[in-house]
Symmetry: C2
Subunit: 211 residues, 2 copies
C-alpha cells in the first residue's frame, strides 16, 4: 500500500520499530494484535499507533485488531523493495570495517558494492570480499555502477570536502557517521545520521545530572 | 551553571551538537555568536536556540550575542564532569570491538574498565588493553568496581536476560546497541539507544519512497 501523501519523519523513524516487533510476533505465531497491545510493548499510546498506521492507509480495520501477517507484509513492502540499494562505503578504518561487516551480515535491503579510502597502505586490501579502492576511483566507479547510498565513516572535514562530488554523482541517501551536517548543507539529500559522539555526550549529561 | 529544573530530552539531545559547533568556533578564534548565527549553522531557529539555552540559565545576555568561551565552558561543564564515568563493555564481537576502540580513542568522559563475553574462545584475549572476562565474573567485578555505564553490544535476547542483573548491580546508564527496549522495561534507567538496523530501515524507506 503506498503512503498517503508525504509521511512525516517521526512516523518514518517509528516504522522500523513496528516492523521489528511485528516480525517477532509473527515468529511466535501470533496472528492478531490490537493497537493498545502494540502500544504497550512499544512504550507509546494506542492513539499514536492508529495515527501512524493511518499515514499508510490504516493496515486493516480498527476494533477487531490488526492481522499480523498483513501488517508484516505491508510494512515490509514500505521499508524494502525487491532490488537492494547499491551502496558504497567511504572510509575503512575501525568503524568503517565494523559497519561494512554489519551491512553484509546483519542488514537487509542494501548491497555493498565497493569501499574507498585515501590511505595508501589500505588500498588493494580486502574488506568483506571487496578490494579497497583509492578515492580517486570514486567518480569512474559511480558513473559505471550508479550506487544509491553512501556510508560515510570519515572525519567531518573529509565528509564536507567529498559531499558535493557524491551528490553530483547521484548518491540519493547517506548513512552518515561523520559529524558533518550534510542535511543542513544539502536539504534535498536523504541523510540518516549516526552520531556516536553526540549519543555518548547525551548519555553522560543524563548520568551526571540524574535526579 | 546547574540546569533549571528538569530539562526535556529533546533539549538534552541537542546539547552535544551545540557543543560541537561552539568548540569549532572556539578553535577558529571566534569570540562571540548570536542566536541567529548559531541557528543558521545548526539548521534551527534563533528562538529555539534561546529557548534551549534558557533551560540552563541563558548563558549570557541576549542582544549582544553569546560569548564563545563562556558557552564552551558552561556546556562542557554540563556534559562532562571531572571524573570519567566508569564503563564496562558487554559483547566483544565486531561491533563491540569497534565501539571499545571508539570509546578509548575518540570519546571524552568515559573510562572503559572491563569487557565481558560468553564465547569461550575470546575469554582471556586482549581488547584495547583489557583482558576479556567471562560474563560469570560480572557480578564480582561490579561489586568491586561499581561501574556507572554499560555498553551493550549483544543480541536482544541476551540484553533482556542480562538487564535485571545490570540494573541490580547499580548500572545507571546504558549505551545500548542491542534491539532490546531497555527504557520501556526499566523506565528509571538512563538509556541511549543506537539502533543501526532501524537507522538503515528508515534510510531505505526514504530512498525507496522519494518524492
Amino acid at each position: 500500500m503506498p503512503a498517503q501523501g508525504k509521511v512525516s519523519l517521526p512516523v518514518i523513524k517509528r516504522l522500523p520499530k513496528y516492523y521489528r516487533y511485528i516480525s517477532e510476533m509473527k515468529q511466535k505465531g501470533v496472528t492478531k494484535v490490537s493497537s493498545s497491545e502494540l502500544a504497550r510493548i512499544m512504550g507509546t499510546t494506542a492513539s499514536q499507533v492508529r495515527q501512524d498506521f493511518n499515514c499508510f492507509g490504516g493496515f486493516g480495520q480498527q476494533g477487531i485488531g490488526y492481522e499480523i501477517s498483513r501488517l508484516h507484509h505491508e510494512i515490509g513492502t514500505l521499508l524494502f523493495r525487491e532490488d537492494s540499494l547499491n551502496t558504497i562505503l567511504i572510509g575503512t578504518g575501525r568503524l568503517g570495517t565494523a559497519i561494512s561487516s554489519y551491512l553484509n551480515n546483519d542488514a537487509r535491503g542494501y548491497h555493498l558494492l565497493a569501499a574507498f579510502d585515501v590511505k595508501e597502505d589500505v588500498i588493494g586490501k580486502e574488506l568483506c570480499g571487496m578490494t579497497i579502492q583509492h578515492i580517486d576511483k570514486l567518480r569512474e566507479f559511480c558513473k559505471k555502477n550508479t550506487p544509491d547510498v553512501a556510508v560515510l565513516c570519515i572525519p567531518k572535514a573529509s565528509a564536507k570536502e567529498l559531499a558535493p562530488t557524491l551528490v553530483e554523482l547521484g548518491i540519493k541517501g547517506f548513512w552518515n557517521f561523520s559529524h558533518y551536517d550534510l542535511a543542513v548543507e544539502y536539504p534535498n539529500t536523504i541523510v540518516e545520521n549516526v552520531h556516536l559522539g553526540d549519543s555518548l555526550m547525551s548519555l553522560s549529561y543524563r548520568v551526571n545530572n540524574e535526579d
